[in-house]
């Protein structure tokens, strides 16, 4: 432990703590701009200068390690003068006229720091040099005129996301924030994760969707889990007057630490599918608007006793909805098929393994954040489950090795130290060969190389995707677990949608066959049905669809009920590594619309069914592939 004195307070901290961290831990305030808790200290802006006894000059507290006996002062006149001077220099460098800036009055850290220091004016006026604005990106505008050269965005792009798109060109006052080798951001290697927008302290990178829509003082926050995939990132949905404004990552979230991908941050606000706001019932061949009671009666009549009934739900829905759905259709109506749109492809083979051995065999996502070798099986973490991909990509420059095994185009493979060819359907033989290479160092060159890398690893992780889970047979999964045991490797299965694992725990993972059903009940929520599903249901005589949006499937259905979309409902989600997390309602439910849960209860009532509502027990009836815990 290290003992130091800051502003007269005796403080004890761990070795390696910076003076800034020590001051913050003691509840003292030191202003910062280039510093960000998620990034490596940089010492660029010089706003956090403090006086250290015995030091010749003021010291930047963000990069200064605390040492024994150190005496630090954070608010002497010398320090306060230096702060104001630093702010004056920053304001003088470029165009920081607040009156025509998007982030002015609350959302700008530079302006807030100036307010804190009581700056009523600038001692130095700017040099009036304009720079070009880069508005080539669909979601972001990059404006060097507003940049204070703190390089938070550059560090976030590299250190946190592992994408290394943003960088600086030139030096000193000529420094320009650029993408790749100075190409327009919209044509660069940017993956639109938006971390740079979220981390920018000024208006240098602004979000097009929310620009001028509402400031921090005018918006409401709704913090909950993202429902776009099974990673389970925490996100903050910002609304104003019941309108979606923006989505941000939650910096304090233990899993994603503020990171989101384009699917979680930008794309939900681009949804322009036609919304359904009233029940529809087919009469004389065409769908006509109906009242809820009539639509529910039509469903009760059409489903009858549930013979030949296929019930299919979206894995984007909360567990509460899925458990109720299972209770109504599997337990009460004994439908012929009760499954999800995913059909268990991302989970069934693995869940079977856990059940057979009565033991979980997968590890949590933290293992992927701190590993020296990653073996990826039939999974492209650049396109899917992107935030899990960030965890891997950002370690590759620190010596972590990546082995990618896939049979089709895989963007992650571009960054791999070793690529292995894994044809779909050959998972079993592939893993046997790998296992043999690990055990005896014999076999094809690629396997021997991979085995060498894996055996040399201290904390290897094997991560696999939906394609692997869908293609692998029992033997393949068995071999996978044996490999992980002999390597002492962690296994991470990424699964599918947000509630893919919950559906698996509820046993909703049977395949859908084409037609052949007498009736179908499709609980889509806000999921877009696939063309394949539309075809599979083409000849089913009676189809009920619960959907937030109109689609070809709802157009063909016999009864359509309008339900809530993701932002209008709350509920629980079980992510890929077994964390139970809450999604939080951010928008009011439109008039005439119900949640899928409320709709199911109405239908149960009409069918005189008393469904089970204790989902917590229902999801623990099977041995999970990874331990389930409240997050």
């Amino acid at each position: 432990m290290i003992k130091l004195t800051i502003d007269g307070n005796e403080i004890e901290v761990q070795e390696g703590t910076t003076v800034l961290e020590a001051a913050e831990a003691a509840g003292l305030y030191v202003p910062t701009l280039c510093h960000h808790p998620q990034l490596t200290p940089y010492g660029g802006c010089r706003l956090c200068m403090v006086e250290v006894e015995g030091a010749r000059t003021l010291q930047p507290s963000c990069t200064l390690p605390a040492t024994n006996g150190m005496v630090v002062k954070t608010n002497t006149q010398k320090v306060l003068d230096a702060r104001k001077f630093v702010l004056n220099l920053i304001f003088s460098e470029r165009n920081h006229f607040c009156m025509y800036c998007q982030v002015s009055d609350g959302d700008c850290e530079l302006q807030n720091r100036a307010y804190d220091e009581g700056m009523t004016h600038w001692d130095l006026q700017p040099n009036w040099q304009p720079f070009e604005v880069d508005a080539s990106h669909p979601f972001m505008v990059l404006d060097n005129n507003r940049c204070i050269l703190c390089r938070r965005c550059v560090r976030a792009c590299g250190e946190l996301v592992g994408n290394y798109t943003l960088g600086f060109e030139e030096r000193g006052a000529d420094s320009m924030l650029v993408a790749d080798y100075n190409v327009p951001l919209g044509e660069s290697s940017c993956i639109s994760c938006g971390t740079c927008v979220q981390i920018c302290p000024t208006g240098a990178i602004i979000d097009r969707q929310s620009a001028y829509q509402g400031k921090e003082t005018e918006v409401d926050h709704h913090i909950g889990v993202c429902v776009e995939c099974s990673v389970g990132c925490q996100r903050d949905v910002l609304t104003r007057d019941n309108r979606l404004i923006r989505i941000e990552g939650v910096w304090e979230a233990p899993l994603n630490h503020g990171l989101l991908c384009d699917k979680g941050r930008f794309l939900p606000l681009e949804d322009d599918r036609p919304r359904l706001l009233t029940p529809l019932v087919r009469k004389d061949g065409s769908l006509k608007a109906a009242i809820w009671d009539d639509a529910i009666s039509a469903i009760a009549e059409g489903l009858g006793k549930g013979e030949g009934l296929a019930a299919i739900a979206s894995t984007r829905l909360p567990i509460e909805d899925l458990a109720l759905f299972k209770s109504v259709f599997a337990d009460s109506l004994k439908a012929e098929l009760v499954t999800t749109l995913e059909e268990g492809k991302a989970t069934a083979s693995l869940a079977k393994m856990a059940e057979k051995h009565g033991q979980s065999f997968e590890s949590n996502l933290e293992t992927l954040k701190d590993t020296d070798v990653v073996l990826s099986l039939e999974l492209d973490l650049v396109d899917d489950h992107q935030v899990a991909g960030f965890f891997v990509k950002r370690q590759l420059t620190d010596g972590t090795k990546l082995i990618v095994a896939d049979g089709k185009g895989n963007k992650l493979a571009e960054k791999a130290s070793l690529k292995l060819d894994l044809e779909a359907g050959n998972e079993g033989s592939f893993l046997l060969k790998l296992h043999e290479a690990i055990e005896s160092e014999t076999g094809d060159e690629g396997f021997v190389k991979a085995a060498k890398i894996l055996k040399a690893a201290v904390k290897p992780v094997i991560v696999y995707g939906q394609d692997f889970a869908a293609n692998a047979d029992d033997k393949a999964v068995e071999t996978l677990v044996e490999i992980s045991e002999s390597l002492n490797a962690s296994l991470v299965g990424v699964k599918g949608n947000a509630n893919s694992m919950a559906a698996s725990q509820l046993g909703l993972e049977s395949p859908i066959k084409a037609n052949g059903y007498k009736s179908a009940f499709i609980m889509l929520g806000d999921e877009e049905p696939s063309q394949k599903l539309v075809k599979q249901l083409e000849d089913v005589p009676f189809v009920v669809a619960l959907s937030a949006y109109g689609s070809q499937l709802t157009g063909n259905a016999d009864v359509v009920l309008p339900v809530t979309m993701w932002a209008e409902q709350s509920g629980t989600y079980l992510n890929m590594d077994g964390r139970l997390q809450k999604a939080v309602q951010a928008l009011e439910v439109p008039e005439g619309v119900l949640t899928s849960r409320e709709t199911l209860l109405k239908i149960s009532e009409a069918l005189s069914i008393e469904p089970e509502t204790d989902w917590k027990t229902s999801i623990t009836l099977r041995t999970p592939t990874v331990e389930i815990k409240e997050a």
Binding site: F97, T120, Q125
Partner: protein
């Protein structure tokens, strides 16, 4: 003791700060009880008293030789000079033209603007003041008190006037400090 004299004028601004001053509504009666309101753009007297005023208030930045003259005269004739609003304090919205130059701004306004016909020309007359870079007031004459805001809130203006009237220099900070 006689009441302190207050004079004001506007330079390269939009008159919004003076509108915000009027937004103090009936409280202007309290102000008039405390101070002797002299030359302002909204009273008949057009120049600050030759024998001086206590407080001089300037709205707007300085964008030509005429503004310079007004600012210098106000500075000479007042004890405390107040820069009122973002244009007076920083240069404000008119200062956007500094990034392109006065020529480009004239060209855009008098020649290229969509509403102009073919017979347009940039005005030129020896009687017109000469355009300069848009400057904050303190780049031309020393300023004693800065009240930023676009415009500053009526409440902030009222607070500042009452303090000044009673011989104190108001502190513009916390909720009274906004640049916009």
């Amino acid at each position: 003791m006689s009441k302190p004299k207050v004079a004001s004028d506007w330079l390269c601004g939009c008159a919004g700060c003076h509108m915000s001053l009027l937004d103090i509504d009936e409280r202007i009666l309290q102000v008039v009880e405390l101070v002797d309101l002299r030359a302002t753009p909204i009273t008949d007297l057009k120049e600050p008293d030759e024998d001086g005023v206590t407080v001089g208030i300037l709205e707007g930045g300085i964008n030509n030789t005429y503004n310079e003259e007004v600012a210098k005269k106000m500075r000479e004739r007042c004890k405390i000079l107040v820069a009122l609003g973002d244009c007076a304090v920083f240069g404000g919205v008119p200062a956007m033209r500094n990034f392109f130059g006065a020529e480009a701004a004239l060209q855009r306004a008098y020649v290229e603007a969509e509403s102009n016909d073919e017979n347009v020309k940039i005005p030129s007359s020896p009687e017109l003041a000469e355009m300069t870079r848009v400057r904050a007031v303190h780049e031309v004459v020393p300023v004693d008190l800065f009240i930023p805001g676009c415009p500053p809130d009526a409440d902030v203006i009222f607070y500042a006037l009452v303090e000044l009237a009673q011989g104190r220099i108001p502190e513009i900070k916390n909720e009274n400090l906004h640049w916009h």
